[in-house]
């Protein structure tokens, strides 16, 4: 048994969460630094995972396996394929930025009496003793807890183990959404608190409902596997092997029902139209770093799980459902984009944009081509980074002005050019500008989709036009134009901490946009495995060019005019 790298990677933030939560109330800053250090250490470990992962090696690597709940056939089984490794890295990468960006988000109000929170009389009275209330510690501890749970989800090769963390991560997320909102709320503090808790409850109920449906399917899977294999198991490699060998059989309707149970849960998490309405609320009400955590990290578990579990365990049902899923994904792409255009709230706009992007990811997954799924995987990573960049800058912007409404801005570029510039880069990444990372993935998804479903691919391409629309409208309304409001005139540019958060993300966007090869090489074999699970092969081109990799072919090429090019 080698060193349990994955366990340690996932456990480190959990330990960090406990440690952070234990910091005394007065030492807020220490808690922040502690959390940051833990998240960075996790990042290092995740990088080690990525490095130690051998693309040419076994399908699941760095595996660990221990008995856990044998009554339920549950084992503590971890292992990463390329997709899991990449997403673990993404998670570990983003958390330090989330922490850095949210550095002051959970500070207690500096002066309770002057603050708009609640009735000053109430705040001032000694009856309310909140000295033991440690929001800052809680905030960072919860973030680390989410990280730990997400990491386990990405590494779990046991369906049950995955399910447990898939569900459990809702709880810290719930507190993060409901407990920590923006300082100022457009609708007033009372109303803001109400909307926040509405958003949190909606988030949790929606996802919990999905999770519970999945629970029914998980139980069903156990029953099916114990019927077929004699002993129920949740081990993914074991199930896949049994499926491939024909030992594990299930009736068509059973497979479809189980698939639906899993898929609905993931589609809610992802989120796929029409199960998306929790996302705008949650992202709108949460602070920007938490919104990033939701869309860039937690939601990825949904799409990841579609790829790993839905396709792997229920290939026939996946194929059966493909037309509908593609249809819904297509609707998501266009619907999300159109609604993003119609938003008046910056964060909700980004949320709808994310819905559109998740549509692309799901499109890529269910296109069942190497390009589509490879693109979808890259998309998950790149969308995480690009949304983080856009949303975090938006958060900085919002924290300066205290409003989420687009109409409250205008002309920021003039007073805060660096802020505007980074915002623009984030926006351009969101609209998949070539040269930035998301372009690569989006193009792959589109190519992959097109090559099997041309009409779907073409309609989805309209999404990139709409993406330009909502990003540029957002930029135009917030950043350009004359400065008309005094609040904006006084707006400071990005501070060092903020720049330190944004700059690496921007750099990564560019770097991965130009040179995504290391990542795609890690991902490719996993995608091939998944495709072989569903027994799909890429459609062949009609007129394949024999050796297109050889650039010298160019030199043999003679332009052929009507007359063969001979004009003399």
């Amino acid at each position: 048994m080698s060193f349990p790298l994955l366990t340690v990677t996932a456990a480190l933030p959990a330990v960090g969460a406990v440690a952070t939560a234990a910091v005394p109330a007065a030492k807020r800053t220490a808690a922040k630094w502690l959390a940051l250090v833990f998240s960075l250490a996790t990042l290092v470990l995740a990088a080690v995972v990525l490095v130690r992962f051998d693309p040419d090696g076994a399908r699941y690597q760095l595996t660990e396996s221990h008995a856990w709940i044998s009554d339920f056939g549950v084992r503590y089984e971890l292992g990463v394929d390329g997709i899991g490794a990449a997403l673990m890295a993404l998670t570990a990468l983003l958390i330090p930025f989330v922490i850095g960006a949210g550095w002051h988000d959970a500070d207690p109000d500096p002066s309770p009496s002057s603050s708009s929170r609640g009735d000053p009389n109430v705040r001032g009275s000694a009856a309310v003793d909140t000295s033991r209330w440690r929001p800052t510690q809680g905030f960072f501890a919860l973030i680390l807890a989410v990280e730990a749970m997400v990491l386990v989800s990405f590494a779990a090769t046991d369906v049950f183990l995955f399910y447990i963390f898939f569900e459990a991560m809702l709880i810290p997320m719930y507190f993060l959404i409901g407990g920590f909102g923006d300082r100022a709320h457009a609708a007033g503090e009372e109303e803001g608190a109400k909307q926040r808790s509405y958003a949190a409850v909606k988030f949790l109920l929606y996802n919990l409902a999905g999770g519970l449906i999945m629970l029914a399917a998980v139980i069903g899977l156990f029953v099916v596997s114990s019927d077929s294999l004699g002993e129920g198991t949740f081990s993914l490699p074991e199930l896949l092997r049994a499926r491939a060998d024909g030992e594990l059989t299930m009736s068509t309707s059973t497979e479809r029902l189980l698939f639906l149970g899993f898929f609905v849960a993931f589609a809610i998490k992802a989120p796929l139209w029409p199960l998306h309405t929790w996302l705008p609320n949650a992202m709108g009400e949460a602070t920007a770093p938490i919104a990033v955590l939701i869309t860039a990290v937690v939601d990825k578990v949904g799409t990841f799980a579609m790829l790993r579990f839905c396709l792997g365990l229920f290939p026939n049902a996946s194929e059966w459902a493909t037309p509908v899923v593609l249809g819904l994904a297509l609707v998501s792409v266009l619907y999300g984009a159109l609604l993003a255009v119609g938003q008046r709230d910056i964060k909700r706009l980004v949320a709808y944009a994310s819905i559109s992007h998740f549509g692309f990811i799901i499109l890529g997954i269910f296109a069942m081509t190497s390009q589509g799924q490879g693109g979808a995987t890259l998309y998950m990573v790149f969308h995480g980074i690009s949304t983080a960049a856009l949303m975090l800058v938006a958060g900085f912007l919002i924290s300066r002005r205290g409003s989420r409404l687009i109409a409250d801005y205008g002309g920021v570029q003039k007073v805060a050019p660096v802020l505007a510039g980074t915002f623009l880069v984030g926006g351009l990444a969101t609209l998949s500008l070539p040269g930035l990372a998301p372009f690569v993935s989006e193009f792959l998804v589109l190519v992959g989709t097109y090559s099997r479903y041309p009409v779907v691919g073409i309609i989805a391409t309209a999404g990139i036009i709409l993406a330009a629309l909502y990003v540029l409208v957002l930029y135009q309304r917030t950043m350009t134009g004359p400065v008309r409001k005094p609040e904006i005139e006084r707006m400071p540019d990005l501070k060092v901490r903020e720049l330190a958060v944004v700059a690496p993300l921007v750099a990564l966007l560019v770097l991965l946009g130009v040179f995504p090869k290391p990542l795609s090489e890690i991902v490719n074999p996993a995608v091939e495995h998944t495709l072989s699970d569903v027994q799909k092969k890429d459609p062949k081109p009609q007129h394949p060019v024999a050796d297109h990799a050889d650039p010298s072919a160019w030199f043999d090429y003679k332009p052929a005019g009507h007359g063969g090019g001979d004009h003399e």
């Binding site: 609604l339 193009f443 009609q542 007129h543 332009p559």
Partner: protein, 645 residues
């Protein structure tokens, strides 16, 4: 070496944009220097290319594998052949000149460093576009220039009009980009690759339907980038950008990328006559469209923009003719690059001296105050109208000839259209010339800023009050580029024509066939000249003989329509903008009320149900007993029933 061509300006952009305020004082020179360096590299490559024989001039260099996914290989690799070389020289050459010009033009602008950063970015992207060895990398450059164009049009972001124009340009271009993307999908599914060499060399194997589809999608892309009907609407608004930008991007280089794309993909179009026909039609329509718009505009830059559209229409038309036209399309592209850039720089120079006034009705008689500008502008003018002996004459004449050579009815129609276009070109350019440099000095009466530009731009404020302008010649740093370009406008055409040198140069890449025109070359030339004279004469009758009214007359229906860009924006507004607004608004409503409403409705249903069921719990022990008794009865009944069933 080829990579350096792209890398040098890219480095410049990176340094200038990330460098911060430290570079505010020297940044513009750095930018200019790097542009020049890029030109120098291009020149070196050009001469080394000349050293090879025609068949082996193409160079290829692969930097790294970009996106390797199973079955999908995209490399960052460059290919430099004669066609690319032509563009490289044009881009870096004109680009360097315009950098130089901008040093003067943007002297007082606080965002100068940023401006040069964007310019360098543009150069890099444009070079990437023409140097890419596959369509995907070309796509990168394609959108890259779109980005640069967006940034530069919206350079004065504080002006809402500029910001809107920038956004519009990007969006319209995106539509075209989508076409390019779909073209790439088609190539990938047809050929399994999208690198130039394999796609083009095996284009013949694919079915005509496929090729037509690819061709049409490429045309869509070209329409977006080159402002061809129906995606032409952004170009006029793009004139909100600083004038050097208009000269470089929206006249000389970027807008001609569509021509490059079609020419580059010649092998595809050659196999798809239907697509070619559409290309030709688009070119012809745009040719007339742009010309008409150019006739009606009083804004000097917008008039020139219309002209650009029209001239690119010529090029697209020529490119649509197939091997008989590719070379001429490119030739006209290059000459147009010279004279149109020169014209724009001249316009910029005029504006520079006129407090950024753009309304030609407030110009007049400026030749005395700006002699250098007048001369260079005049030479450009002569070139564009095709005055015999100057650049435009040679290149345009060839296109008209090739249009006739298309053959059949089509050929006649195209020939007529091109001739008509030549006449209109002469008309509107003469109009510009007369309104600007001749006639009475109307600016003396007009001391207020033009009504259609209500927003005061700080750049103008720094240059002086909006009092009566004091026209003056621009500084040397601005006039020198104009002079150089004027030389190009005069001589380039002749140089290219001499010994068919240009055609021979391009032939290995684009192939060439002599068209067989039903009318002789001399006849065509004569007709062209006649058209020219008619156009000039008409303009002189209208604007030269009598004073130009300072307020535009109402004009006839066509004029009014042309002033509004032939109602294209109205169309867009009604169909796309308000339609889209309604669509998004109703979708927002639907999302809130229907999709979300279903969720909240479910919650409310349970809540209501709960409230109702709750009332059963009425506190009376006896009613609880009733429930138990009833329950027991049901339990018994059900058990008995189960047995009965």
């Amino acid at each position: 070496m080829i990579g350096l061509l792209v890398g040098v300006p890219l480095l410049g952009a990176a340094v200038l944009l990330c460098g911060g305020r430290r570079l505010d004082r020297s940044g513009h020179w750095l930018g200019t220097l790097l542009a020049a360096a890029s030109f120098a590299i291009g020149a070196v490559l050009f001469f080394s290319m000349l050293g090879e024989d025609a068949e082996h001039r193409a160079m290829h260099s692969k930097l790294f594998s970009w996106v390797p996914v199973e079955g999908f290989q995209a490399d960052v690799a460059f290919q430099l052949d004669q066609l690319s070389m032509t563009f490289v020289l044009l881009i870096t050459g004109v680009g360097t000149l315009i950098h130089l010009y901008s040093v003067g033009y943007m002297e007082h602008d606080p965002g100068r460093r940023r401006f040069f950063g964007y310019l360098n970015l543009f150069l890099a992207a444009m070079l990437l576009l023409v140097l890419a060895d596959n369509y995907l990398l070309l796509y990168v450059g394609w959108e890259g220039v779109g980005l640069a164009s967006y940034l530069l049009i919206g350079f004065w972001q504080h002006k809402p009009t500029a910001a809107t124009a920038a956004k519009k340009a990007f969006l319209v271009n995106r539509v075209g980009d989508a076409g390019l993307a779909i073209a790439i999908f088609l190539m990938f599914t047809t050929f399994g690759t999208f690198a130039f060499a394999p796609v083009l060399s095996s284009a013949g194997e694919a079915s005509e339907g496929k090729l037509t589809a690819i061709g049409l999608m490429l045309l869509l892309a070209a329409c977006g980038k080159s402002a061809q009907v129906p995606l032409q609407s952004w170009l006029g608004d793009a004139m909100e950008g600083p004038t050097p930008v208009s000269a470089l991007i929206h006249a000389a280089t970027m807008v001609t990328a569509g021509v490059y794309l079609i020419t580059r993909s010649g092998a595809v179009f050659n196999g798809a006559p239907d697509a070619q026909l559409v290309v030709v039609v688009v070119g012809a329509v745009t040719l007339l469209f742009g010309a008409l718009v150019g006739c009606a505009k009083d804004d000097i830059k917008k008039a020139l923009a219309g002209s650009t559209m029209s001239q690119i229409g010529y090029m697209i038309l020529a490119a649509g003719l197939g091997p008989i036209g590719y070379a001429f399309a490119i030739m006209h592209l290059v000459t147009h690059g010279f004279f149109k850039a020169g014209l724009f720089l001249g316009a910029g120079s005029v504006m520079h001296g006129m407090n950024d006034e753009v309304d030609m009705r407030r110009y007049g008689g400026l030749r005395k105050y700006m002699p250098v500008t007048f001369v260079t502008f005049g030479l450009g003018y002569l070139a564009i109208i095709g005055f015999p002996g100057l650049s435009g004459f040679f290149s345009k004449d060839q296109i008209i000839e090739a249009a006739f050579a298309k053959g059949g009815t089509e050929g006649w129609i195209l020939g007529a259209v091109t001739l008509l276009g030549a006449a209109i070109t002469a008309y509107y350019m003469t109009r510009v010339m007369l309104m600007t440099f001749f006639g009475e000095e109307r600016w003396r009466k007009a001391a207020t800023p033009s009504p259609d530009r209500p927003d005061v731009e700080p750049a103008a404020e720094t240059r002086g009050e909006h009092a009566e302008p004091h026209p003056h010649e621009s500084p040397k740093i601005m006039t020198i580029p104009m002079i150089v370009l004027a030389f190009g406008s005069v001589f380039a055409g002749g140089l290219f024509k001499a010994g068919e040198s240009f055609v021979n140069w391009l032939e290995p890449v684009t192939a060439f066939e002599h068209g067989h025109s039903p009318v002789s070359a001399a006849t065509v030339t004569t007709a062209t000249v006649v058209a020219l004279v008619i156009g000039v004469g008409a303009a002189w009758f209208q604007y030269g003989r009598k004073p130009v009214p300072a307020v535009a007359p109402r004009g006839n229906l066509l004029t009014r329509a042309a002033r509004r860009d032939l109602l294209q924006d109205d169309f867009n507004h009604v169909v796309l903008v308000s339609g889209g607004t309604h669509l998004t608004r109703s979708l927002v409503y639907v999302d809130h009320k229907v999709v979300d409403g279903a969720v909240n409705g479910t919650a409310a249903t349970f809540g209501g149900l709960s409230g109702r069921l709750r009332r059963l719990q009425n506190g009376f022990a006896r009613s609880y007993a009733v429930s138990m008794f009833g329950g027991a009865a049901v339990l018994i009944a059900a058990t008995l029933l189960m047995r009965a069933v």
